[in-house]
Structure formats: structure tokens, C-alpha cells
């Protein structure tokens, strides 16, 4: 009895099958598979079909590992050894189902994790590609808009100075507002594109925090009033008068949030609250909160409103405001938080750390209208300007802008290759030069001028104008030897102010 049990135990995972050279079963155990004597082994399972031909062409034992002989892996998975025994073939099946089941479980989890990682990588790559394409597209698109917009702004200003009827004045006012909005949108597009490309860096300096608050109060009290809304600002009195940070970018964040609040609020009020979270040594943490009684944001949109070009409804703008806010705050080491109930209003808030000077600093005097006046006296001779610009429309606009001041004689060339000839033959006081010229780029041309052996030529002030307004590009142009670079679209005041700076 014991011997029989031992034998059963020993053979429970094993089966021997003996066939002739053609695969006809001569003898077989029946432990794992039913094998009728006299049938072809290929009929038992398709695995065995090729065994006779394999054994005919090989002298040695052949091993097959992990062969699934059942309909599923947990039915019967075995290692199989095939021996040549004289003219016959001996097949030994080792049932290793349990072992291979655990191996399968391991492989399942390993492969799934590898495939998941691959798919995540692919998805990320696809998203990055899409983002890159979008950024490139908007960058090129906004670039293309800059030239015509510069022209519209310039020509509108020129038109404004002509004799106009009241109706025409009204139209010009609308035109100016529209171009101003368009210009702001282009600035937004530039900002988001720079943030996306990691090209935007903060530029911290000490500034008068009270002045920034006053500016916001003045701007948004007026704008809110126009819509019948109430705008309030509450500022913690313990906040130092001067703080150190990127004033421009902080203002950009706050104006974007306030603009949105005004845009999406039809009745009620908008409150900007600035609290002091903490103050230690020369560091403070401020909390900025903008609360409105506007349309609010549906819960399902909260995730996406900070994405570029996402906006809630058919309103003005391109939907970049909150994406800019998010990007700028990330640069400032902060994050935007939002609490909102659709139909009741929204509360955006964020914390930012600033340094502050322990003693009141002496800041450069702000340039006012008074000290911004042109420096040329009425009777002094006109300045001679060389305008280098290939775009005829921009040529016209700039020409009109300059000629209307009565301060300039202007020569125009459209090809960079002609510039050297012009400046050698004519004594110019200043050169106004488009950076993107045919034949030779503006910055290359400037390098040539700056290395010219004649002092009066190599020292001519050169102002570049460009539709490429990334900070690093502007720096490259300045490095090439330009005295100043104006990014399109610029207005008349900006242009003249810059020019007068280098004249006299």
C-alpha cells in the first residue's frame, strides 16, 4: 500500500510516452494527458505534431520549457524532454503548472508596468509636441501681427492730429482702444510663449508697494464703476512701504486677476485684499486675494481654466490671462488657489514672499511727462535720419511719424546692403533700423558699422526695431552694438522718446 502511494506521489507530476519514429504511441502513462496506444502523438496535442520530424533530424535529447498543454495556463503547463531511444522516441512531461503560474504573475506585473511606462512616455511626448507646436504657432502668428499693428497704431496717431469731425474723433478713439487691446493681447501671447519656453526670468528690484496699490485702485475703481460694480482694496498696514520683487510681473498677475473679475462680474463687487502672512528679518510673505460676485467657475472647469486658450464664455480676449498668472506665480515660487461656486462668485488667492529693505531706499526718479519733453529747441537744425526698413507699409508709418514732428530729414533704404553706401556718403545723426532685413540681418550690419574705421560713422546711434521681442533676442541685438531696440508694436511716443535720448 505504502509503495503504491509512494509510486502515485512520485508519478503524479510526470508522464512518459513512448512512440515509434513516426510518432505512433507504443506505450504511455495517463497521469497528465490521455494518450491512447496506437494513435499518432500529434493527435494528442498539436505540440507533439512536429516531434517526429524534429527527432529525425537530431541526435540528442531536446528540451522544451514552459509548454502550455492545457487550454489555459493553470490547466497544464509543463517542461517536456524528448529522447531518442533507438528507433523509438521517449517523451517525458513534467507538470510545472504551479511554478509557471507564479512566473506568469510576475511577468504580468513586469510587462504591464513596462507597457504603462512606455505609454505614459508616448503620451507625454505627444503632449509636449502639441504644446511646442502651439507655442511655435502663436509665436509666429503674433510675430506676423506686429508689423501691421505698428502701422495701424502709427497711422491712427497721425490721423488723430488732422482736422477731424466729432464723429471721426469718436471713430479714432474706438480705433485706438481696439489697437491698444490688440497690443495687450499680443503682449499676453508673448508672455505665455516665453513662460512656456522657460525664457521668462524675474527681474526683482526695490519698488514702492503703495504706488502699485494706488495704481490698481485707480485703474479698477474706474473700470468697475463703468460696469456699475464696486471695487475695493484692503491692504494690511503692516506691509512695508518698499518691497523687493518683480514689480512688473506682480502687477501682471494682479491685473490679469482683476481684469477677469471685472470681465466675469455683472453685479456686485470686487475686492482685492492684501494681507501680511508673516514678517521675519527682511522677508515678508503676503497673501493676495481677489474676490468677486461674478459668474463663478463650474467645478468641472476648475482643472482647465489655467491652461492656455481656455476661457469660460464668449468674452473678449484670447484666454491667456489665467495661464499667465499660473506661469508667473510658478516663477515666483507660488501657486494660485481658487474657491468658486458657479453663479455665486470666485475667490483667487496666492502667497508670495518678498524681501524688503530695512531702511527706506532712494529710488531713481520716475520719468514724468514734464522731464520727458523733447530736448531739441525750435530753431535748431533738423536731425538727419536713415530709416532702414524693407516693409513698405512700416516704412510709410515710420516716415509719417517722424516727418510730422518737423524735427527730421529722413532717407529711406529697404536693403541692408545699401546702408554702408548711404552712411559713407551722408552724415546721419541716427539710424533707425529693422532687425530683419533682406540680404544682411540688422545685427550683422550693426557689427559692420561699429567696426568701420571712421569715427563719425562707427559712433552713429542706431536704434533697432524688431517684431521678435524675446528678451534674449533683444539682448543679442544690443550686444551687436545697437544703442536701443524697440519691440513692435511700439507707439509714436516710445519711438520719439528713444530717438531723442540719443540725439543732441
Amino acid at each position: 500500500m505504502l509503495n503504491k502511494l509512494k509510486e502515485n506521489y512520485k508519478n503524479s507530476n510526470l508522464q512518459f510516452i513512448l512512440t515509434d519514429a513516426d510518432g505512433l504511441i507504443l506505450d504511455s502513462g495517463q497521469t497528465l494527458m490521455t494518450c491512447e496506444i496506437g494513435t499518432a502523438i500529434g493527435e494528442v496535442h498539436p505540440f507533439f505534431f512536429s516531434i517526429p520530424s524534429i527527432m529525425a533530424s537530431t541526435e540528442s535529447t531536446t528540451n522544451f520549457h514552459c509548454v502550455q498543454l492545457g487550454s489555459t495556463i493553470d490547466a497544464l503547463t509543463a517542461d517536456i524532454e524528448v529522447f531518442k531511444k533507438g528507433e523509438n522516441i521517449l517523451v517525458v512531461i513534467y507538470d510545472l503548472t504551479d511554478h509557471y503560474l507564479s512566473y506568469q504573475a510576475m511577468a504580468q506585473s513586469r510587462n504591464e508596468s513596462i507597457i504603462d511606462s512606455e505609454l505614459i512616455l508616448l503620451k507625454n511626448h505627444e503632449l509636449q509636441e502639441r504644446e511646442r507646436f502651439k507655442n511655435e504657432f502663436i509665436q509666429n502668428f503674433s510675430h506676423e501681427l506686429r508689423n501691421p499693428l505698428t502701422n495701424i497704431i502709427a497711422l491712427t496717431n497721425i490721423l488723430e492730429r488732422t482736422d477731424l469731425t466729432t464723429e471721426q474723433e469718436r471713430i479714432i478713439k474706438i480705433l485706438k482702444e481696439s489697437t491698444s487691446n490688440l497690443k495687450l493681447m499680443l503682449e499676453d501671447i508673448l508672455s505665455i510663449s516665453m513662460i512656456a519656453k522657460g525664457k521668462l526670468a524675474l527681474n526683482p528690484s526695490v519698488f514702492n508697494f503703495g504706488q502699485l496699490v494706488d495704481f490698481l485702485r485707480l485703474t479698477y475703481t474706474t473700470r468697475a464703476k463703468e460696469k456699475g460694480l464696486i471695487f475695493t482694496i484692503t491692504v494690511d498696514e503692516n506691509i512695508p512701504a518698499y518691497i523687493e520683487g518683480d514689480r512688473l510681473r506682480l502687477l501682471q498677475v494682479l491685473t490679469n486677476l482683476c481684469d477677469n473679475a471685472v470681465k466675469y462680474t455683472e453685479t456686485g463687487n470686487i475686492a482685492l485684499q492684501i494681507d501680511l502672512n508673516q514678517k521675519w528679518a527682511n522677508t515678508i510673505s503676503l497673501r493676495f486675494g481677489i474676490k468677486d460676485t461674478g459668474a463663478g467657475i463650474p467645478a468641472e472647469s476648475l482643472e482647465t481654466i489655467f491652461e492656455s486658450f481656455e476661457q469660460l464664455g464668449p468674452t473678449e480676449g484670447v484666454g491667456l490671462g489665467l495661464a499667465i498668472v499660473k506661469g508667473l506665480l510658478t516663477l515666483m515660487g507660488s501657486t494660485i488657489n481658487i474657491e468658486s461656486i458657479a453663479g455665486e462668485g470666485s475667490h483667487f488667492y496666492f502667497d508670495v514672499k518678498f524681501n524688503f529693505p530695512l531702511h527706506q531706499p532712494s529710488l531713481p526718479v520716475l520719468e514724468t511727462n514734464k522731464n520727458r519733453k523733447r530736448k531739441k529747441s525750435k530753431d535748431s537744425p533738423k536731425f538727419k535720419v536713415l530709416l532702414v526698413e524693407d516693409n513698405e507699409q512700416v516704412q510709410t508709418a515710420l516716415f509719417k511719424m517722424l516727418i510730422d514732428t518737423g524735427d527730421f530729414f529722413i532717407d529711406v533704404v529697404g536693403d541692408g546692403a545699401l546702408v554702408m553706401e548711404e552712411i559713407v556718403n551722408n552724415p546721419y545723426d541716427i539710424i533707425l533700423m529693422d532687425v530683419n532685413l533682406p540680404n544682411i540681418s540688422g545685427d550683422q550690419l550693426v557689427k559692420v558699422i561699429r567696426s568701420f574705421p571712421l569715427k563719425n560713422i562707427k559712433k552713429i546711434p542706431i536704434i533697432g526695431v524688431t517684431a521678435y521681442s524675446y528678451e534674449d533676442q533683444l539682448k543679442t541685438y544690443l550686444k551687436s552694438g545697437m544703442n536701443a531696440v524697440l519691440a513692435k508694436p511700439f507707439d509714436e511716443n516710445e519711438l520719439l522718446k528713444t530717438m531723442y535720448r540719443f540725439l543732441n
Binding site: F49, S53, F64, C66, V67, Q68, I73, Q104, N111
Partner: protein, 166 residues
């Protein structure tokens, strides 16, 4: 007359080898991914003409990203090979030339059908362009999910093997 031919199906893991066979043999499909280990063998008879058929013995091999690891014994006595890649995962086809070279070395003179599976997951035109740009030639773009070109693949291979046998 019926002849039997052994066909080995191999390629990276998760490319849909088992699904292709299941679609062909059982005309079924499941989205659940179950990793195959070792080898699983099934059989299906393909009618070539009224009096001639081929019994395809299909060896579904465990997926691997290195064909050098394929056990030699699995390839013994093989009449045809189907090399499958997943058109939606570039890692499964970016080294296809090396893989095919390994196969030609391991199983010389055995006909190989190269198959891009899961075509239902991608835009076919885009994939064709990508494959073309990377000089990847293939015999079929299939979908085990929809059944697209699956029967064509096996039937064409069966006919070819039948012809070889004559």
C-alpha cells in the same frame, strides 16, 4: 489532401500575438492583457482549394524584446514565422531590422511575415508614413480587435507554405 505546417509567432511582449491567433482560430477578442509565458500551441485548418488544406500549427511564443533569448527548441522544425510589432508603441518596431537579422540567423531560409498589429489604435496613414520614413517594410497591418487583415495574413501564409510543399 491535408498537410501540416508549424508557424511560430513572435515579437515584443504586449504586441498582440495571442490576440491575433485567438482572432484567427476562435474569431474572438478581449481587451484584457494576459501575459503569455513559454509557448502555447493551437491548430487551425485553412482550406486552400476544395481538395487541399493546410493545418497550421501555431506556436505562440512568449514576447521578448530580445529575440536572442528565444529558445532554440521552439524554432525547431518551423515552416514559417510571423513577426509581430505594435504600431502604437515605437519601442516594439524601432529595432526591427536587428530582430529580423537575429531570426534569419536562428531560422535560416524560413519565410517571415512582418505584421504591424493594433492598427485600430492609430491613424493608419500616419503610421505608414512613420514606417516608411524608418525604412520598415511589413507584410500586413492588422487589428486583432477588429479582425482587420488577420485572416488575410494567415491565409496568405498558409497558401505560401502549401505552395512550398509542392
Amino acid at each position: 489532401m491535408q498537410i501540416s505546417k508549424k508557424v511560430v509567432i513572435l515579437g515584443h511582449f504586449g504586441v498582440g500575438k495571442t490576440s491575433l491567433i485567438r482572432r484567427f482560430v476562435e474569431n474572438s477578442f478581449t481587451d484584457n492583457y494576459t501575459v503569455s509565458i513559454g509557448v502555447h500551441i493551437t491548430k487551425k485548418v485553412v482550406e486552400i482549394t476544395a481538395d487541399k488544406s493546410v493545418s497550421l500549427i501555431l506556436w505562440d511564443l512568449e514576447g521578448t524584446d530580445d529575440l536572442n533569448h528565444v529558445r532554440e527548441s521552439y524554432l525547431l522544425g518551423t515552416h514559417g514565422i510571423i513577426y509581430v510589432f505594435d504600431v502604437s508603441r515605437p519601442t516594439t518596431f524601432q529595432e526591427i531590422q536587428q530582430d529580423l537579422a537575429v531570426l534569419e540567423n536562428k531560422a535560416p531560409l524560413i519565410p517571415i511575415k512582418v505584421v504591424g498589429n493594433k492598427i485600430d489604435l492609430v491613424i493608419a496613414e500616419e503610421v505608414i508614413e512613420i514606417l516608411g520614413n524608418n525604412n520598415i517594410s511589413y507584410d500586413f497591418l492588422t487589428s486583432a480587435k477588429t479582425g482587420g487583415k488577420v485572416n488575410d495574413l494567415f491565409e496568405q501564409l498558409a497558401k505560401m507554405l502549401a505552395l512550398d510543399a509542392e
